[in-house]
Amino acid sequence: MLRKKRCVAMLLAGGQGSRLGILTSHMAKPAVPFGGKYRIIDFPLSNCANSGIDVVGVLTQYRPLELNAYLGSGAPWDLDVTSGGVFVLPPYQTGSSGTWYKGTANAIYQNLAFIEQYNPDYVLILSGDHIYKMDYAAMIKHHQHHEADATIAVRQVPWDEASRFGIMNTDADDNIIEFEEKPKQPKSNNASMGVYVFSWEKLRKYLIDDEADPASSNDFGKNIIPKMLGDGCKLTAYTFSGYWKDVGTIASLWEANMDLLNDRPDIDLHDKQWRIYARNEGYLPQYIAQGAELSRCLITEGCIVEGTVTHSVVSTNCVIEKGAQVIDSVLLPGAHIGPGAHVVRSIIAENARIGAGASIGEADGDIAVVGINVRVAAEAVVPAGVQYEP
């Protein structure tokens, strides 16, 4: 019998993230690099560590290799503990059956046994596609205080965007009275963040009932939450007001990186009270050569910069050769920019090599992307909005 845990976190990391195009052709979305030395999944995992949650099940399905290798023993997030830890939970075969995860709720349903080992009071459901810093412990406290069956984290979105989200209509006491998925005429602007706290006994019952319903698409937003609401369960909204960004598209991933370059970024990664941890291979300090020109950029370990970097994020082990210019761009780990190359409004994926004098992206227009391990020939041109992967 394992030690009882107050809260177990389940992180849904199975999505392909097809809107990220060639960036996710080799890996699941949560494994996509972000902010120079992080990956998207570092944010929910570090939030767990900082919130005192030390059992995290990571539900994987699409191209899990990169993610599995990255998580390892969980040591970077202090999750290499005997009484808990990080567990990769792929779908599996049982005696006669076994299926892929059919939906978010089904993914948790298939891992009931994993959760039951810890006999938790609460289960925290997270997704691996957002950049944010959030104290889950405060949300659980809110859940306890309201004696709720489920608590849904919400954030206020601009009214004109509200019809793109799942909207929670609440009473004066934060109780959710109505849930509307992408309403044409929203009654509130409280959008669900896809972060849920459930009282375990309740969730367990609803997952089992949901699985027995052949008409269900086994999804939290579409099935579990509306069903609980219909049955008169107590659902409360927990309002989160900090920085939160969905990085599900090329444009939003690029934007979230650019957000880090502001004078006072809305998400402070320098904050020692709430560090974002990442697996770190221990590269050399960055070397900035004579003749380099840097302005408003983030650069990290292992980089060698001889050219010009303006308003850009440069990840581990990138090389920017003499005369190269990197403007309004994101270089992912190991990208190599050849001499005199011109990279503007682009994302250059891992270990891509841009040949001498090549030109990637345009000063206005959509973001250009060069795929993982891709070589762009000298003097070649990749126009705005193109995802280049021969």
């Binding site: 120079g36 030395k37 300090p285 070397y287 004579q290 408003r296 983030l298 370990e301 990840s315």
Partner: protein, 373 residues
Amino acid sequence: MSDIMGLIYTGEMDTRLRELTAVRAIAAVPMLSRYRLIDFPLSSMVNSGIRNIGIIMQRNYRSMLDHIGSGKEWDLHGKRAGLTILPPFLLKDSVGVYEGFLDALHSNLPFLRSCKEKYIVLTNSFMLYQCDFEDMVEEHEKSGADITLMYTKEKGIRRTSQGKYCEVQPDGKVTQIEVDPMISRFDNTMLEVFCLRRELLISLIDLSTSRGHYHFTRQMLQTGVHDGSLKVHGYECKSHVWAIDSVEAYYQCNMDLLDAKNRASIFPDDKPVLTKLRDEMPTRYLPGAKVANSLIADGCVIEGTVENCVLFRGVRVGKGACIRNSIVMQDGRIEPLAEVDYVIMDKQSAVRESTRLIGAANYPVLITKGLTV
């Protein structure tokens, strides 16, 4: 499993580095933006496949313990082998302060006896070099010697009158050893790195201390070479070598490593130098940043001029500030409009707004830990 174990001695007399070692052992002196000196021998050992490593601690070893921890960063936290911290040991005939390396080894005989490896590599912690110890032990085996010592032909390694030198014959046989001469007669500088059979070491320690000898090189090795009782072989170090035996040498070593060729000698691509991680965010360069020929760690915020510098983690260079030819350790602050040249700033120190602080190339100013100028 490797048949070689490692032992790192961190108890050297450390007054030579002045205030840099007032608060820490030499082995814990911060180096090159994100390392401490011990990272280099320790990583070399790990990269040579050595899995059983002891570290002999002596004075002020709190920052060493903080840095090394369980040995996790070096993958030395396993069950089958790993890191053993050997703090000062009080015996009936010792008071926990070692007279010399041999004395330290004597105090740790129980540890040496408990190990199983055939060979042991001994190293100090104030030399910066890169070595494949497996290669060294292989050459040692072939030579048939009792002890193999590492040396370099590089000139000017030691800047003080403290240094150990040796005469090496073309066949590798060491025929003479000099300790701390004013002017050395031999071109080969010893790195104070040795390998030998573990069991031979145990019997040599026993024999030597019974004669009242406490110093490994000056007494045991030198006597053995000169009276012919020990067959000693010389192994030439293949990398560049720096001896960090003075503040000036420390400064020069950091500056030398701004050169890519020197860095490549100490940091081969396939042999990473491992160190404790701090999870800092990438360094932010804001408008006004002008940076040239500098090594910079993560977590810095740069708004001023930085030229020929080594900056550690979390350093801030304010607007209009100008820092050249300097080393700034963790969390150092150069406030706006300050001007700093040829300075070593220890951890958490600061230079206030509009202050000028200028040292000289051969005598960098040293600001002690936590001080604000």
